[in-house]
């Protein structure tokens, strides 16, 4: 699990930390930035060129992207495997739904509250989880994923039991000439950008290196003065917060929450997304989100009888061709194309 991430992370380090290796001249160095700006431009004009239904689908991609980024921090960068992130997604969604439905609070306020609540829950869960490594942690988080839907049914007075809570889809603020789908998309895009910039700043610097160090060799990390316990539980909290915010946004976008929306399979889907997208990469979260949103639909269009078999085939092919995920694959290609000729010389 750690090796593909390891390679990809090394690539990140090379990109960020050693500009001296880059080819002199503007082209290759500035191309990624130009690409980013172009991508942003496309993202902004998207809702004005697509149908409402497609806009809604891309809103879901952004929401998944946030959740995947959260999980990638924990699993990709820090090496803690979680099959429980559907639980944080559910907690975020229900926090928003209950605040809107029972207390009539504006949805805008509920999203940061959902994030904060998940930060605390994640941190607290991360504490005892410190004692669990690898597969044992995965099992503990699986328990979380399995129990949350049932707990939601138990507090029926708040959660509406298995009937769930029906919300109203928000309209754009007065004065903005946008329909609800366009508004929801742009709002989600802003939150996504904010969270991605925050994550990048967090992961590209000291904290990111510490997380990777803990993943690769926690004893060595400890010896270098990294507080393993603190980093591990904080990253658990932050990861849960990201996923919780994604859950909150999904509650607003779907305008309905029910325990059936948050089964353990959702966690597996998230995990699939980060592995396919690329472990320990930030762009991998978006790519993974595109994958989990659209590929199951394509699989269904190809074969009604066995869509998951087709999906499984896609997965195997992707893992075989791009073992470091799509982002990792692109990065390797990029390095290979732009690497200075020195590296290609025969050894003396």
């Amino acid at each position: 699990m750690t090796s593909p991430g390891g390679v990809a992370a090394k690539a990140t380090e090379q990109d960020v930390a050693s500009p001296s290796r880059a080819v002199p001249g503007l082209g290759p160095r500035y191309l990624p930035r130009v690409g980013l700006v172009a991508l942003l431009f496309v993202a902004v004009i998207l809702p004005f060129t697509l149908s409402n239904f497609r806009t809604f689908q891309f809103t879901q991609v952004l929401i998944y992207g946030i959740a995947l980024l959260g999980l990638n921090m924990l699993t990709g960068y820090n090496g803690q495997i979680s099959i429980g992130h559907s639980a944080f997604y559910a907690i975020g969604a229900y926090t928003t739904a209950i605040m809107i439905d029972r207390w009539n609070i504006g949805y805008g306020w509920t999203i940061p509250v959902a994030g904060l609540l998940c930060l605390v829950v994640g941190f607290l869960f991360g504490r005892p989880a410190l004692r669990l490594e690898g597969l044992y942690l995965a099992l503990a988080t699986l328990a979380l994923a399995l129990s949350v839907p049932q707990i939601l049914k138990y507090f029926e007075h708040w959660t509406g039991g298995s009937q769930g809570i029906v919300l109203t889809k928000p309209a754009a603020p007065r004065g903005l000439p946008l329909n609800p789908d366009q508004w929801m998309y742009l709002l989600t895009l802003c939150i996504t950008l904010l969270l991605f910039v925050l994550a990048r700043n967090l992961l590209a610097g000291r904290v990111g290196r510490a997380l990777v160090a803990i993943r690769d060799n926690h004893i060595a990390a400890e010896a270098m003065g990294i507080d393993n316990a603190l980093y591990k539980s904080v990253v658990f909290g932050v990861s849960a917060a990201y996923t919780g915010i994604a859950g909150a946004l999904s509650a607003v976008a779907i305008a309905f929450v029910a325990p059936d929306s948050f089964d353990a399979f959702l966690s597996i889907t998230f995990l699939t997304g980060i592995v396919i997208g690329g472990l320990a990469t930030i762009s991998g979260a978006v790519i993974g989100a595109l994958f989990i949103q659209f590929v199951p639909n394509w699989a269904q269009d190809i074969s009604k009888a066995a869509p998951w078999a087709i999906f499984g085939t896609f997965l195997i092919v992707f893992m075989y061709v791009m073992p470091h995920g799509i982002a990792g694959f692109c990065r390797l290609m990029w390095i290979r194309l732009t690497a200075p000729p020195v590296t290609r010389q025969e050894p003396r």
């Binding site: 409402n52 879901q60 029906v166 109203t168 309905f256």
Partner: protein, 405 residues
């Protein structure tokens, strides 16, 4: 050349006027052309509820039969069904795809209470007919607030009331023990039953036990119910647990008056696995012919169904009541479209769906008729009690009609 253009234009205009009325009105209606009508559906083909997916497939098989026989008023049904895996967010996405991208004329038999709850508001805002939803919840019969959504089967609360009426009338010193699934389905039954008992409910119900659908067994609940001294057992369980409950109570020698919910009344999938001897004396409320019950072997409706299954849906299971359910409800859909004639506007589809009068379906119990009106969006409201005699369900008592209570 100039003259030719003018002539062509004239010809086009004339053509429009001649072909006009029919073609133009057909174009303004969504999802309908002169040769086709698009019907959208979501079903759980994967995920925890995928056993129900056979309903979506069987409906497609029935529409294929209709198309083979020439369609409805010359229009073939283009049936588009997507997998929602029983998860509400996926249902929302797929239903939006059906409505906004595929541009279906109507939605039919979308399956499950949570999935339908998620799209309830949306379809009513979009004014898309949302017909004969596949869930037994009570809330689909609300034409005043949701004029575009209509249920189909008798709801669970109604059925609960039927058992309550039976207990009040026939068991003078009743002590009732209840086992129910801890979700909306179980609680709907429970509510109907308690409402039916009314004031007496607190006194008569001695113990309520619940289970989760993910539990492996319910043995301990059955033992608790026996020890409570209950002499009436209201069994609100899905087939898997119904088998266990019937077996276990038989094995530990508990012989209450056993009321089994309709959900698990299948001879082939419940009573036979539980043991026909152990099942003797069970009472249930029926609205459909149990396809595994030998008494219908020579029934015309059953034989037609069998012939259709063999020809159009050979991979479907012949002991799965869901396939009979799908056959019936698809037939009702076709009836509504026939009633629409050539006006397939969404308004008229809804109007005709609310105008079904004493329509009989081949696999409903004899005497049960489908009736709807602008104030009654519950198509099937009749049920009859039946007792298992060790071989078949024997109908008894009068037909219960919820619309008349």
């Amino acid at each position: 050349m100039h003259l030719f253009k003018r002539f062509l234009a004239l010809l086009l205009v004339a053509g429009f006027f001649l072909a006009g009325p029919g073609a133009v009105t057909a174009q303004t209606v969504v999802g309908v052309t002169a040769t086709e009508i698009k019907i959208g559906n979501t079903n759980p083909y994967s995920g925890p509820a995928s056993a129900y997916g056979t309903i979506g497939k069987a409906i497609g098989a029935y529409f294929k039969k209709v198309n083979d026989e020439g369609g409805i008023n010359g229009r073939k049904i283009n049936y588009i069904t997507y997998d929602d895996a029983y998860t509400p967010p996926k249902t929302v996405e797929m239903v939006r795809r059906l409505v906004e991208q595929d541009q279906v004329a109507l939605l039919f038999q979308t399956l499950g209470t949570p999935p339908n709850s998620a799209i309830h508001k949306y379809v009513n805002q979009q004014k898309v007919p949302h017909l004969f939803v596949a869930t037994g919840a009570t809330k689909w019969n609300d034409p005043q607030h949701f004029p575009w959504t209509m249920g189909y089967q008798p709801n669970y609360q109604t059925e609960g009331k039927i058992y309550a009426a039976y207990v009040l009338k026939n068991v003078p010193d009743a002590k009732v023990g209840i086992l129910y699934q801890n979700d909306d389905y179980g609680k709907d039954y429970l509510k109907g039953f308690e409402d039916g008992l009314g004031e007496a409910a607190k006194k008569l119900i001695v113990l309520k036990q619940s289970y989760e659908v993910t539990d492996p067994t319910i043995d301990s609940q059955i033992v608790n119910l026996k020890n409570s001294g209950a002499n009436v057992f209201f069994n609100i369980t899905i087939p898997k647990f119904a088998v266990q409950a019937i077996k276990k109570s038989h094995d530990i020698g508990w012989k209450p008056l056993h009321l089994l919910n309709n959900v698990s009344s299948s001879l082939g999938t419940v009573l036979k696995p539980a043991g026909l001897d152990a099942s003797k004396g069970l009472i249930t409320a029926l609205y459909m012919k149990e396809i595994t019950d030998p008494q219908w072997k020579n029934d015309k409706g059953f034989q037609d169904w069998m012939a259709w299954m063999k020809k159009y849906y050979p991979e479907g299971a012949l002991d799965d009541q869901s396939n009979a359910f799908a056959y019936n409800v698809a037939m009702l859909m076709v009836q509504v479209l026939k009633q629409c004639g050539n006006d397939l506007s969404r308004e008229n589809i809804m109007k005709q769906a609310a105008n079904v009068k004493s329509f009989e379906l081949p696999l409903l119990l004899p005497g049960i008729k489908v009736n709807t009106s602008p104030t009654d969006f519950a198509p099937i409201e009749q049920e009859q009690l039946a007792k298992f005699d060790g071989e078949r369900w024997v109908l008894f008592g009068e037909m219960y009609d919820a619309s008349k209570k």
